[in-house]
């Protein structure tokens, strides 16, 4: 880490900014902790168990869905040196616990533990609370490392799509069941019934028992605290053992790069010979599209991004439906959000495709043709996902009449977002994990560059997307002709944004050809 900071001062800046932000939110956490500390012990326990469970889940899910944020040490980097896992693990553990998120959540866990001050048996309660919080923090960090290692292995297998599909169905089913329960019983009844029961059960599991243990001491049941701490400690040891096993496996089994796939058909020539009515793409666009579709289907770096791009808005929407109900027009914001998320997520698209760039350059292809092929491949899965969410929103609200305008506006936001991303990816590329590397890792030395690219594409998206969706907002407020305006504006902006974006990106691509390869390597 010291060597990284010496080489990449940007990285130190980023870490410092993260540390300052983390410290700045501590006062509000302390206030929340103070307020909670004055409540009865059972309220404290429920609140801390709920927060602890959400954090535990976030430590597993966020590194998987938001690819490129995991800047911990990838054990595969040590494979050539033949270091035994026994010697490697202490270093990996120390590195995992000294990241900015681990330090921040360490402080948060401490604040959560301090909430137990003022209870009877005060000294013992606080001691147990801090031990429980420390053990919980240890399980969060270990589970995140294990999750990314296992997910990397899974994504390299043919079974990945079946497993991901199963997980998606399970998440959607859970959201649907929750939403149905909230709708039928009301939010208060749901919180008092199902949620209270779930919290009670979670307090007995390793995910939250560390935060429930002090409650047992406060009730004068020391053994209740002991067994809760023991199961959290056992869970941590089990996670470390699994982590070590996963490290051991990854050191001698590099991620399978192609899975030994054999293909009899030439997909490139098939794309050239495909006849579709009205399809007049250039040869370059056709083959780049075919090549990029292959990436989206079988490259773990791309597959993980599809999962992240679709899962994040879906989960957040599901939680919002569960909390706010499923009748409000705000549901139609979800497909717009999904479209913007997907578009913005492609802001470094070209870097993921870096291995194809040199062949483009030596072949002197038109940049716009390459960009269009790449954009169409993304649109091939993104547009159906956006339309599906529009239909789901219309079905939940029963407002089928607004579906055409909402769909066109959402597709418009997608087109504009992808157009902006095409330009951003040529203008501000930064290094990403190469093919065959862990799709969840962040490339060392790119933090400053990625921050710049993300801020720039966020600003551009923040300016452009409101122009596309404001007529839709007007339609929901005033109705009438605004529905037609929203539909036309969505279609026009979507096509215009995608076409203009790829054209501008293509011109930049041609102009920057002699510099691009150096930016990826």
């Amino acid at each position: 880490m010291r060597h990284q900071f010496r080489r990449d001062w940007w990285r130190l800046l980023f870490v410092a900014a993260g540390a300052i932000w983390s410290v700045s939110v501590i006062p509000s956490l302390l206030v929340a902790s103070h307020v909670l500390s004055t409540r009865p012990y059972d309220v404290k326990e429920d609140a801390l168990v709920a927060v602890g469970t959400v954090i535990a889940l976030a430590w597993v899910v966020v590194p998987l869905l938001a690819t490129g944020v995991d800047d911990s040490l990838d054990p595969v980097r040590f494979a050539p040196w033949g270091i035994a896992p026994r010697r490697l693990m202490p270093g990996l553990i120390v590195a995992a616990f000294t990241t900015v998120p681990a330090i921040f959540f360490g402080m948060l866990a401490g604040v959560m533990a301090a909430t137990w001050r003022g209870e009877s048996h005060g000294g013992w309660v606080l001691a147990v609370a801090f031990v429980g919080a420390a053990l919980s923090l240890a399980t969060w960090v270990a589970s995140a490392r294990l999750a990314t290692l296992w997910a990397t292995r899974l994504l390299a297998t043919r079974a990945s799509k079946a497993v991901l599909g199963g997980l998606a169905i399970a998440v959607v089913a859970l959201i649907a069941v929750t939403a149905a329960a909230v709708r039928s019983d009301g939010l208060e009844s749901f919180l008092a019934g199902e949620v209270a029961t779930a919290l009670d059960a979670l307090a007995r599991t390793p995910w939250a028992a560390g935060f429930a243990a002090p409650s047992a001491v406060a009730l004068g049941q020391p053994w209740g605290a002991v067994w809760r701490l023991v199961i959290v400690a056992a869970w941590f040891l089990a996670l470390v053992a699994a982590w070590r096993s996963a490290v051991e496996h990854s050191l001698v089994n590099p991620v399978s790069r192609g899975g030994g796939t054999l293909r009899t058909q030439d997909g490139i020539l098939a794309a050239m010979e495909r006849k579709l009515p009205g399809w007049r793409a250039t040869a370059t666009t056709r083959v780049v599209l075919a090549r990029s579709v292959r990436s989206w289907r079988i490259d773990p770096r791309y597959v993980s991004q599809v999962v992240g791009a679709v899962a994040m808005p879906t989960i957040m929407g599901g939680i919002a439906v569960a909390a706010l109900g499923s009748r409000g027009p705000w549901l139609f914001a979800l497909p717009i959000f999904l479209a913007v998320t997907i578009g913005w997520g492609r802001h470094n698209d070209l870097a993921y495709d870096a291995s194809a760039v040199w062949l483009d350059i030596v072949s002197d292809v038109r940049g716009a043709d390459v960009m269009r092929g790449r954009l169409l491949a993304t649109a091939g899965w993104a547009a159906p996902a956006v339309v599906t969410m529009c239909v789901a929103a219309a079905a939940l609200t029963g407002r089928w009449a607004v579906l055409p305008a909402v769909t066109l506006a959402a597709l418009g936001a997608l087109g504009v977002g992808l157009g902006i991303a095409a330009v951003s990816s040529v203008l501000l590329p930064y290094r990403v994990p190469a093919p065959g590397e862990s799709p969840f890792g962040a490339e060392t030395g790119t933090i400053g560059a990625s921050l710049g690219a993300q801020v720039a594409s966020s600003l551009a998206t923040g300016v452009a997307v409101p122009i596309v969706v404001s007529p839709l907002l007007a339609a929901f407020v005033w109705g009438g002709v605004w529905w037609l305006v929203a539909a036309v504006a969505g279609a026009a902006c979507g096509v215009g944004g995608a076409w203009g974006g790829t054209r501008a990106a293509g011109a930049l691509y041609e102009r920057r050809q002699g510099r691009l390869i150096g930016m990826f390597s």
Binding site: S295, S355, V362, Q513, G514, I517
Partner: protein, 254 residues
């Protein structure tokens, strides 16, 4: 401007990376129909020079002419004449070997039927038949090199620029590649290749350039450059021997 008889002309090429002057004023004329070897120690600037010569890297200064056409001013005329095999750059690896050749052929503007025919010819000639349906991701280093060479050849260029074309290639395939390249030169094509293997360069090339510290140290017909001795001796004489021949006594097994 160089004449059409000069396949590749480099004029005053310069390229700096931070504090390192990778290419420091290279001037070179490579005649059409020659088998040209570019030699140099690690870090001499060979790959940087060849990257600039093929449009992969913008020079800080200088010009590149392919059969008299300015590469950086008229890439649409110059690049179709070049076939390129870079070294150290990852190749897109989610296509099969056959598909990658087809992809390169289509990018070069060939009709699908021509691509299909040449793809099959190249797969057979380079002994890549079994790799035709295998993803490039699963290729060995030597197979990846061979399929890269096939991509460079598919559009029948006038000039082949090959960076370390024989690296990691097995002897049987190496012989096949040598035969293909010799036939190409005999038919009027030009091959420019970099290599560290002196014996190979002496066997194949009729002209050589020795590059050191980003400059041309010697250039000309093979016999003129190597003089009375062999090429390796001349190379060491020009670029210098290892600074200190320290005795690694601790490596001895007995």
């Amino acid at each position: 401007m160089p004449s059409d008889a000069t396949a590749l002309a480099l004029r005053g090429l310069r390229k700096r990376f931070g504090k390192t002057q990778a290419v420091d004023g290279i001037d070179l004329d490579i005649p059409a129909g020659s088998f040209y070897g570019m030699l140099g120690p690690n870090g001499a600037g060979k790959t940087t020079t060849l990257s600039i010569a093929t449009g992969l890297l913008t020079p800080d200064a200088g010009q590149v002419f392919v059969h008299g056409v300015d590469l950086w001013q008229h890439p649409e005329q110059a690049k179709p004449m070049l076939g390129v095999l870079p070294d150290g750059l990852r190749t897109f690896d989610r296509l099969t070997g056959g598909e990658l050749i087809s992809y390169a052929g289509v990018l070069r503007g060939l009709d699908p039927e021509v691509v299909r025919s040449r793809r099959d010819d190249l797969l057979a000639a380079l002994d890549l038949g079994t790799a035709a349906g295998t993803l490039v991701a699963d290729f060995s280093a030597g197979m990846a090199k061979k399929v890269g060479l096939a991509c460079a050849l598919v559009h029948a260029p006038k000039v082949l620029v090959l960076d370390e074309p024989f690296e990691a290639v097995d002897p049987v395939s190496g012989a096949a590649i040598r035969s293909i390249l010799q036939a190409f030169v005999n038919s009027g094509g030009t091959v420019v290749m970099s290599s560290h293997v002196m014996a190979l360069v002496e066997r194949l090339c009729d002209r050589v350039a020795i590059v050191g510290a980003g400059r041309i140290l010697a250039e000309g017909a093979l016999n003129d450059v190597r003089g009375a001795g062999d090429l390796e001796a001349r190379f060491v004489q020009l670029v210098g021997d290892v600074g200190e021949q320290r005795d690694l006594w601790w490596l001895r097994q007995s």
